[in-house]
């Protein structure tokens, strides 16, 4: 932009182009040129997995656009009305104004149902995108210094996004979401001491009261999106400030970023990608029903349906509740409902486990350096194992949350599924951790083998004396770089147990634990030594039958 305006002034005397005058007017007031110069040429590396965050950004934008349209027609009120709209199986039924206006949006507002479906599908995709994006960042180690804070911002976006979704799908006040709100009320009530007060405050009296739709509405359209927008902007500013990470490769270092400039390449690409995301979501919304509130009927506390699950992102909390034994303690005239309270406490812990991981890892490994080159997941078997274990836990709980549908569709007993999830909650993540670590080590061995002996070509050669050998083709320089570029840190050493006089040294027990964890991280059982230059030279300059 700046170069083109400069050339026009040098080549063409005369009246300035109006665009240039506007640009100069703005520049002298907000420093547009300087801002543009430093940021428009920002380099971004190319990789499909770096676009997962963009999927989230765009689906969030779609959510805001469609959400504004929906607020024009939605009535956040729980006043009772009688339905007289075009949907025959509800005519004459009493319902809240919130439900009636959602019916109005779905059946009478032009494009209303499509916009509602785009809004709801975007919400599912937004949060699924955040999970997938988070997993990319996790497995490649992109959360390491200097990006720990941005990791936390992203995680907070996910956490708030879940509640943004929950308050959103509760607004229509249909039988399904009302059951979900009832579930929430039960969870609030199970909180010792303050539970009943909190519930009374939230619902303005006994459930369901006349309060929760307006309260959820202001949280859903104002409070939570406001916080999310602020977090999102901070998240993006930090991405700009830190510069993007990149995968290791020839010419890529901790000090550079290899890729394409933000302007004009990425503005075009990202702009185009926005429309592709919008297109995919709109196509899905046009094809498939989501949350057909007209089939569910208005919420009434005396009615309930089977198959009452929350949207998928709340599914793991549903799983926690469904598989938890119904324990309770009755003492001194009070009831402590452990069957609900324990899942309520594990729910944030499951999410927090992944949130605090970057800090635990840097504490254990003592790694205080800046990292802009990504890890290949196989080269960090413990981290990869932990990530897979976390995902296993998460998806095991999701299965628990849908146990009734698994039972009917796979002809299983619901008790079998519940018990499998109970056992699996403890066993499966552990198994997944060790299996993943083993697989990572196997892949590291394979990398080592490939570097030293080359790629297997599948060509069998018979030597003059009758021996058969497979021809191996040496890797090219670029591939060798990718396979050997990663540093292999050594575990922390506490030093000798005794000092020079043979007196036992006092070692802080915390340091001991840290050293043990560090050995687990970088010890000989957690990484295969990558080939050294000497080894490589010896083999390649050797007898040469490879």
């Amino acid at each position: 932009m700046s170069t083109s305006t400069e050339t026009s002034t040098t080549t063409r005397r005369g009246p300035k182009h109006p665009g240039q005058r506007v640009a100069e007017w703005t520049d002298s007031r907000v420093g547009l040129y300087k801002l543009g110069k430093s940021n428009l040429r920002k380099i971004f590396p190319d990789h499909w997995s770096f676009m997962l965050g963009e999927v989230c950004l765009y689906s969030f934008t779609i959510l805001i656009l469609t959400g504004v349209y929906l607020t024009l027609f939605f009535h956040p009120s729980m006043n009772e009305v009688v339905y007289n709209g075009p949907y025959a199986p509800l005519q004459g039924v009493r319902m809240s104004d919130a439900y009636a206006s959602t019916m109005h949006i779905s059946f009478e507002v032009r494009g209303g149902l499509l916009i509602r479906q785009i809004h709801h599908w975007s919400a599912l995709i937004f949060i699924a995108g955040m999970i997938v994006h988070m997993m990319r960042v996790f497995f490649t180690g992109a959360f390491r210094k200097p990006r720990e804070l941005n990791w936390l911002f992203g995680w907070t976006l996910l956490f708030i996004g879940m509640f943004e979704g929950f308050t959103g799908y509760s607004l229509p006040d249909d039988l399904l979401s009302g059951t979900g709100v009832r579930f929430t009320e039960g969870a609030i009530l199970s909180t010792p001491i303050i539970g009943t007060y909190l519930s009374m405050f939230l619902f303005g009296g006994e459930f369901p009261g006349h309060n929760f739709v307006p309260i959820f509405y202001s949280a859903h359209i104002l409070l939570l999106p406001g916080i999310m927008a602020a977090l999102l902007v901070t998240h993006l500013i930090l991405v700009f400030y830190h510069k993007h990470t990149q995968f290791p490769g020839a010419g890529k270092t901790e000090k550079n970023v290899v890729g394409m400039p933000f302007f004009p390449i990425y503005t075009a690409k990202a702009g185009g990608f926005f429309f592709l995301v919008f297109g995919v979501i709109a196509a899905i919304a046009a094809i498939a029903t989501i949350n057909p509130i007209w089939t569910m009927g208005p919420y009434r506390p005396d009615q309930v349906s089977t198959g009452a699950q929350p949207d998928w992102y709340m599914g793991f909390s549903e799983g926690l509740i469904r598989v938890m034994p119904g324990w309770e303690i009755n003492a001194w005239g009070h009831t402590l409902v452990l069957g609900v309270f324990i899942p309520l406490m594990i729910f944030p812990l499951v999410l927090a486990a992944i949130a605090v991981y970057p800090f635990i890892e840097s504490w254990v490994t003592g790694d205080k350096g800046e990292h802009h080159l990504l890890d290949r997941p196989r080269n960090r078997p413990v981290r990869t194992g932990f990530g897979v274990a976390w995902l296993t836990l998460y998806f095991t709980l999701l299965i628990g949350g849908g146990n009734d549908l698994w039972a009917t569709h796979f002809h299983l007993s619901i008790e079998t599924i519940t018990w499998s999830v109970r056992v699996g909650f403890f066993v499966l993540p552990t198994l997944a951790y060790f299996a993943t670590k083993r697989i990572c080590l196997g892949l590291q061995r394979r990398d080592r083998d490939k570097v030293l002996h080359g790629r297997e070509t599948g060509i069998i050669k018979r030597l003059p004396h009758g021996e058969f050998i497979e021809v191996h083709e040496p890797l090219d320089q670029e591939q060798l770089h990718v396979l050997t570029a990663h540093p292999q840190p050594q575990p922390l050493e506490i030093g000798p147990e005794v000092d020079e006089n043979g007196v036992e040294r006092k070692v802080n027990p915390v340091t001991k634990v840290r050293a043990r964890l560090s050995r687990n991280f970088y010890g000989e059982h957690s990484q295969i030594p990558k080939p050294t230059v000497e080894e490589y030279d010896e083999i390649t300059s050797g007898h040469g039958h490879h």
Binding site: W48, I125, A286, G307, S413
Partner: protein, 269 residues
């Protein structure tokens, strides 16, 4: 009165009084007592019963006993009524194929005429719910909005919002109601087969049953309207989440890969 008073010590007076008393109680009983179906002894009915008994001896007696009295393998059928027979045999649940958590639905093994004969035989064992006539279960005679409210209050906790079915304990389940004959839905409500509670006319009048059938016809048939597109099974958020992951995130990752692979090249490598 004088005449009656004079003859009251007649030797036959006690006999006359006895005859009057018997006639009165017998007459009152005949007038007021519920008349069981089996009592109407027209010849075609008795042929039905005889034929039904023959069918029963061949196909049912091994579990339900030679006289429908039940055994360790099957319950007594005395008093279950013709509606229960019409439902169980008509939907193919009886004769049962194999034991299990629940008797499965399968293609019917008897013609409607044979089912009627079996039903007549079982009805003759004791009074019970009677097979409904066509006006009672005609969906045109019901109000779908009222039926929806009744369905959500009484049925959807096992059968889901629109009758897609759901899981019960120990591998049992509430079956889907899609494609089930309205007559069989009516009979199921009346007789409460297997794990289902029964909704006799005293708790759920015939009209309410017709309303529920009208609701199911409106929302759960091949020609019910789905304004939102594919219903994904009308099973709630679980299939929606699965769909969002496979076709939403899946498609977007495919698109992202496509976009990332098409980049401007500074120089040909």
């Amino acid at each position: 009165m004088k005449k009656l008073s004079a003859r009251r010590r007649h030797p036959l007076a006690a006999l006359v009084v006895l005859l009057f008393a018997l006639a009165a109680t017998g007459g009152l009983y005949a007038a007021l007592a519920p008349a069981p179906k089996a009592q109407a002894d027209d010849s075609s009915q008795s042929i039905q019963i005889t034929e039904g008994k023959k069918l029963f001896s061949v196909g049912c007696a091994s579990c339900h006993g030679a006289h429908g009295q039940g055994s360790s393998d099957g319950p007594s059928l005395v008093g279950v009524g013709s509606a229960a027979v019409d439902f169980q045999v008509g939907t193919g649940r009886m004769p049962a194929q194999q034991p299990g958590p629940q008797i499965q639905k399968k293609p019917g093994q008897y013609t409607q005429a044979e089912i009627d004969q079996l039903a007549a035989f079982i009805a003759s064992l004791g009074p019970g719910p009677v097979t409904p006539n066509a006006d009672q279960y005609d969906p045109a005679g019901g109000d779908s909005a009222k039926g929806g409210e009744l369905f959500r209050t009484n049925c959807s906790q096992c059968h889901n919002f629109v009758g897609k079915g759901g899981a019960l304990t120990d591998g049992k389940y509430a079956p889907t109601l899609k494609g089930v004959d309205p007559k069989h839905i009516y009979e199921a409500m009346q007789t409460g087969p297997q794990n289902m509670p029964s909704f006799p006319d005293t708790t759920m009048p015939s009209q309410a049953k017709a309303d529920i059938i009208a609701y199911l016809q409106a929302v759960d048939t091949a020609d019910s309207k789905n304004p939102g597109g594919f219903t994904l099974g009308s099973l709630g958020p679980v299939p929606e989440g699965l769909f969002a992951y496979i076709f939403g995130i899946g498609a977007l990752i495919a698109v992202a890969t496509w976009v990332a692979a098409r980049t401007t090249k500074a120089k040909k490598s």
